[in-house]
Subunit: 435 residues, 2 copies
């Protein structure tokens, strides 16, 4: 996906860019105004909007599926791969899943208004740190139409206005879903501008969305690497982005054999295309001879191709040789690189050098080794005796997530409603002046 035209002069007259800019500025202005209303909306009002939107999605199922059929027809005409067409596809079951997702978000606790901390100073001033919405959130995503409802509902729950810019492939589907969300907002007496979708597939709109810091507080890109890299490069607004999920499973000397097999297979093979899928297996040299053969066998039986370093290949059969590049490769496929390392220190060193600071797991019954790994591996999510595929907001109990952030600022790991908030300080005095 190209966010801005490479040759705007060739593809579009300058007047069109001006029109797009004006349209985006107007969307931004309306979002900012809606955010001010949402920031003061009650939990009941926001949840009412979400329940009403779920009802509208169900009632509008025929219209939404008809809109989706247009997107699907266009996608087939463009010759999109079947896997991409499947991402676009809605049916009654998927739509019910989207509606149920809105109800899940409605059932989450409202993060806004919570007192995060309170203290008093010797001069009698009473301080409260209170959670407030972030403001306006721009979401840029590719084909999946469910993101429209997932992202819009989470933003609403946290009192933020959302500007949604879906991929051109899902344009009709997303527009129909947004219409249902608007019905929910209207029923709850909230402004429709709380959830706006950009009414054009022109890529210049994305360029403008990224450069309106006066109207947009944060950008969340959802999609492939090229989309996210372009957003990070062009944005003048903070970005919650997830770049790579180069996750590791480390089998320690103290590993239980059954857990090692189960976790390695699940972390790699449950779903290979998710960001929490393991890409590299590390095995402690002390137990590699015992542990690696059964683990490798189970992985191969599950359909996984293994690429090992020399030490791994000397122990287990049927591995291709791994090159240096393999340690830095996110396959998102049924391929796993395998290295033998020297204990937990070697594992930590390998992960901090080659990983993407996303999700990494240690398998061991040795509590000290586990705590060292959890402390010293510099990743958003570190696990002990559990699969890396738990890297998911739902599995964390967040109810829903707008993405997983590999950055360290503000949000890290799964981004749920609470991570879409900011805070303010309320200071209560009795006439204090500063000496």
């Amino acid at each position: 996906m190209s966010l801005v035209d490479d040759k705007p002069g060739l593809s579009r007259a300058p007047a069109a860019q001006t029109d797009i800019d004006a349209m985006m500025l107007e969307i931004g202005r309306r979002a900012r105004a809606a955010a001010a209303v949402l920031a003061l909306a009650s939990s009941e009002q926001k949840d009412k909007a979400l329940h009403a939107a779920a009802a509208a999605l169900r009632a509008d199922t025929p219209a939404i599926l008809a809109a989706n059929a247009k997107d699907i027809a266009a996608a087939r005409e463009k010759g999109l791969r079947d896997s991409l067409v499947d991402r676009l596809l809605l049916d009654a079951g998927r739509l019910e899943g989207i509606a149920a997702g809105l109800e899940v978000v409605a059932g989450l606790p409202d993060p806004v208004g919570a007192t995060m901390a309170a203290w008093e100073r010797p001069n009698g001033l009473k301080f409260e740190r209170r959670r407030v919405p972030l403001g306006v959130i721009g979401i840029i995503y590719e084909s999946r139409p469910n993101v429209t409802a997932d992202a819009g509902s989470l933003c609403l729950k946290a009192g933020n206005a959302a500007i949604l810019r879906g991929g051109s492939e899902s344009y009709h589907s997303s527009t129909a879903i947004v219409a249902a969300l608007h019905k929910g907002l209207r029923e709850a007496g909230l402004p429709e501008d709380a959830i706006q979708s950009v009414p054009t597939t022109d890529r210049a709109a994305v360029g403008k969305l990224l450069t309106m810091p006066q109207y947009v507080d944060v950008i969340v890109p959802r999609g492939g690497r090229s989309l996210i890299e372009r957003v990070q490069n062009e944005s003048r607004v903070p970005v919650f982005a997830h770049l790579d999920g180069l996750c590791h499973v480390y089998l320690d000397a103290g590993a239980d054999r059954d857990k090692a097999v189960a976790i390695a297979v699940n972390a790699k093979m449950r779903r290979t295309s998710v960001c929490g899928a393991a890409e590299t297996l590390l095995v402690d040299r002390a137990v590699a001879a015992e542990l690696l053969p059964p683990v490798a066998e189970a992985l191969r039986a599950a359909g996984c191709i293994l690429r090992g370093d020399a030490a791994a290949r000397a122990i287990a059969t049927g591995m291709d040789p791994a090159s240096e590049a393999d340690w830095d490769t996110e396959y998102l496929d049924a391929i796993l690189s395998v290295a033998v390392v020297d204990g937990v220190a070697g594992a930590i060193e390998h992960i901090n050098r080659h990983g993407s600071h996303h999700t990494d797991s240690i398998v061991t019954e040795d509590a000290a080794a586990a705590e060292r790994f959890l402390s010293e591996v510099d990743s958003a999510i570190v696990l002990h005796n559990a699969s890396t595929q738990f890297a998911d907001g739902g599995e964390f109990g967040f109810g829903a997530e707008i993405g997983i952030s590999t950055g360290r600022m503000h949000a890290r790991g799964p981004v749920g409603a609470e991570q879409l908030t900011s805070f303010k300080y309320l200071v209560r005095g009795t006439g204090q002046t500063r000496p």
Copy 2:
């Protein structure tokens, strides 16, 4: 301050830029390596470094004052204004204040390692959200040499590596202070690279510092508006920035007269050059006739020039007329704009339109009006019956601050040690795989 040369081709051969870039990349690489060590340093080790640095500052007083004398001589030669020369000046008393500041930071609780939240899921997975350092922090500041120690020590306390780029005016002073900080780090067995200062006054170094996201996690600019705007425009790294402090005091119908006078005078006149100084006084129309004359009189007696709207001038004498631009002006001087507004709703509307989302105060004995103001004014700090000049990390009990952020992301309001941290999720299982 210009962060990058406007005409690099004219002022410097390309080779020099390449040298600067290489030097900055090396500083970044070393900072990243030091950050990995600091992240695992104990509280005792970090505090030992801070105490030893304070001792070194005291022991090195003659050398630091000699270095400062060079900066002062150069500043006078360049014809710097007396007020700017005073900002640069160190004497034994100021240096003792800097050393004592290091000890205050040492005495603060260590934010790193704290469990921020913990919960268990139905599948038995135990989740912990633990505070960890942010990583590498770049601080770009102007003339005050004390920032060198303040910023370096807060970064160290929170386990971060700091890259300091002070103004060219304080170059010798800052270098001498960093030498003392290095002594402290050495005594505690921590890497000197934990606090590096950029060993050149070449402005190209700043441009590079802003564009090394692989080595720098956040930039904190400290200085005037032009510095901060340039950092915000050029940075490819998140910025904790404080742009304007357009603060308001609102005198409500329920205000106590004595508190109104005391808070208005203190908020404006205690120090007019600080970001928490009030710039606009709002008075409820219902009580303006009673309240405004004594408040205006007290302000004038304290040396303040008043610029009022028509309603204010009809009530109180001796005011200049305010123009529309006055409502949007941060004077940082003994000037105050005065407007009559319709109750707390009118005050909130004025502040959210004209303010800078920094610090605003209501004076009232009416609890409902106060709570409405605190909730609905969209500022980092909102006060009830207290002076806006409390907008300061020390007054909040943070011990020290690296600045005040007017952004909404990650840090908002005073940025103390806790705001210089990130977090990670530790997940403890017993062999769980994801269904």
